[in-house]
Symmetry: C2
Subunit: 484 residues, 2 copies
Amino acid sequence: MNEPTRFGTVTPEVVERLSAILGAGGVSVDGEKIAVYSRDEVAERFWDRPYRAEVLVFPESTRHVSEILRMANERRIPVTPRGAGTGLSGGAVPAFGGILVSFERMNRILELDTENLCMTVEPGVITAEITRAARKAGLLYAGDPCSGDASFIGGNVAENAGGNKVIKYGPTGSSVLALEVVLADGSVTWFGGKRRKDVTGYDFVHLMVGSEGTLGIITKIVLKLLPLPAFGVDLLIPFPTVEAAIRFVPRIALEGRVTPASIELVDHHSLSQAEKFLNTRLPFDQAAAHLIVQLEGNDREVVADETERVGKLALEKGALEVFVADNRSSRDKLWKARKSVAEAIMAYYQNYAKEDLVVPTDRVPDLLFAVDALCRKWRMEAANYGHVGDGNIHVNLLMADDRPHWHEDMEQARQELYETVRQLGGTLSGEHGIGLKRKAYLPQFLDAPQLELMRRVKLAFDPNGILNPGKLVFWDKKTGEAGA
Amino acid sequence: MNEPTRFGTVTPEVVERLSAILGAGGVSVDGEKIAVYSRDEVAERFWDRPYRAEVLVFPESTRHVSEILRMANERRIPVTPRGAGTGLSGGAVPAFGGILVSFERMNRILELDTENLCMTVEPGVITAEITRAARKAGLLYAGDPCSGDASFIGGNVAENAGGNKVIKYGPTGSSVLALEVVLADGSVTWFGGKRRKDVTGYDFVHLMVGSEGTLGIITKIVLKLLPLPAFGVDLLIPFPTVEAAIRFVPRIALEGRVTPASIELVDHHSLSQAEKFLNTRLPFDQAAAHLIVQLEGNDREVVADETERVGKLALEKGALEVFVADNRSSRDKLWKARKSVAEAIMAYYQNYAKEDLVVPTDRVPDLLFAVDALCRKWRMEAANYGHVGDGNIHVNLLMADDRPHWHEDMEQARQELYETVRQLGGTLSGEHGIGLKRKAYLPQFLDAPQLELMRRVKLAFDPNGILNPGKLVFWDKKTGEAGA
């Protein structure tokens, strides 16, 4: 059994080697810069200590990454890949120091293949650029994380980012056809291809997706594209209670016979934060909850028809009103509000637990009842929003800024919440990832055989444990590790 | 390093233990029965020798499977799981004898959950029963392999069966939300859940899908369901050349802005075999190729509109005619012909190579040109059909029954074909699996690091190598194994 905590350190000679591989401009040991790059969107105050890489590198090619890994593997130096730092779980935080690999210079769209409906990109391309490039060609890239204007596609793949269109198109992984991967020892391989189906060997494409950089480092991604729907409409539907909003959600498919691209929930508390943050107002903003339902299609009349059907059904099921946004500016305003909720809450609250729970869709009401009860018990507030169409709710537990022992209280409240989620058939994270933040809770959701399989699969891919150590996998149940 | 070829044998005491677990009625050592169950749809004349299990068992519960595996693992006895035997790659053929596990008694639909749009089934349920049960509830199970009237869902999952609706809904794996799995040591775990997204740990659900029973034995499956489209139409479109038919395929999405549920190709030779086999006739059966395009939707007018758009476009692009089947009996007749092609060819030819190639969709014409050239060079015929919409073509190379050395000739022709496929960015199998039949060819399509990763992952899940040994994984590159 290897012991991944006996890592090699980044000596001056290692920095020299890295400079020889990357050129002097591709390597940084500047403490301030390293500090900036060693973070993601999880505030440092939530960690037990600041985590810092020892050296920061900026590869420009697969060959660079390969040479970095070959050297790191020989010397047992940890390597943490990093996208744009928009992560919400500390997945790109270098838990054991070592080499931090920024992909900002591997940011090219390599090919837009309109015949095979796919795009080949480097991991440092910003998600929204992919969406735009596809749209220009009349095509849709279906990934749509809220952080898409800033996030890198490599991070989206590594965390299997979800976002706003999962109910119709699946998470990021559903759009991944192939990956070029540098393995721990520096060897380079391709999983998958420009192929819509493939049973030639184990499905390592989807094993890599969501593996948080612990199994290999992704250097190229082939993304599936779809014909761009010609028409789209967003419905903003306020409800008098959160429960009424949630109970309406399954009716859209079951009674309305419509599969929207998005069904998003924003409760009153979440909406207020977003309005304050953006200095804007949305209609009926005193309502307990709003749903945003996005419909799309190629036929204007069908979309209009579905809009009417969903709107009518909503009013039957207790909606206060139905607002239809069918032009660019009103649609953008709506989504800007929805997408800013996370940032707004973090701006106005210090003491929060930002959760990424997922339960079977019909248990969402039970989950939110339980959150209500928790709030009363622990004298705290909650802001709930997220992808209600797929059962993925971002529950935010909020405690007063001046509350003593808030951290201990929050931890206990969180434990009770997790126990409820488990009982509801739910799990720890739907799209934000485990990272450093949630690793300690994994054993509440995955049984011992499964944790052991994860450990063995990690060993199969990365015998020396150099790839993003401290994430996802427990090397040694007795000693534990950072984040465990 | 374990040596999986040093397997334990099925002694009378093992049979006794199995009878104690399953009851006497759950165990068979009847040689004739074992011979029948030790086959799939690959004719035995294609194997180097007949493969036979030593004992056949019929578990009725997860507990049964768990106890069988615990015992087998202790004694290093091979265990091969088996569905309905409709496989086309020898995936369920017991290459090393041992215990053959038939799932015909684990054939219950355990739950149809109309709120969460999913169904929980045992592996021995016939695929078509799932489709019917879903349809009764107004829901769609999107898996649609041609063998669906006979195949078991467990086999569909183990091989990641494709079928006729992959372009719209993906292969079987896209419908799998969760799996109950018995691991090699008999422990029982669940991968996934009734959740539309989940990043809590590695994606072992999709690692299991298509792993051909080599990593664990599936005992329950949670399948995703969708709202059933209210209207469907099939277009039968004859073309004067295969090339014209294929070149039309991408125009459907790109110019027609339509995403059909199916785009199937049947060439003249394939259609003739099916007509003879079914004693039926389809219109324009002298045409070089037919496409079957299935359209579906919830709005009768939209479907009618799309039908017209696709039909008109087809005629512009050289179709000889467009036949619209919009009632049950004409649609059934069409699909019966399509689904019988494989069986028909096997009925009329002895010396065939039945391939399951997949290439990037825009390379399908190149693939078929290469097949033409091969036919001329090797003096043979070809029948080509399949899922042209996703680049998965069942190329059938056919040699005269009385040809001497046909096997050697075929092998060489096949090698040349595979080399072409590789150069086109294609691969060995899109949906039939590797099994015993294609294992020897894996190294032409997967590089050494990948084969080594497969070996290590296999070891991680199954340290003693008892699970369907001889399939997918090379234990020892030097000695090779059965099928290798």
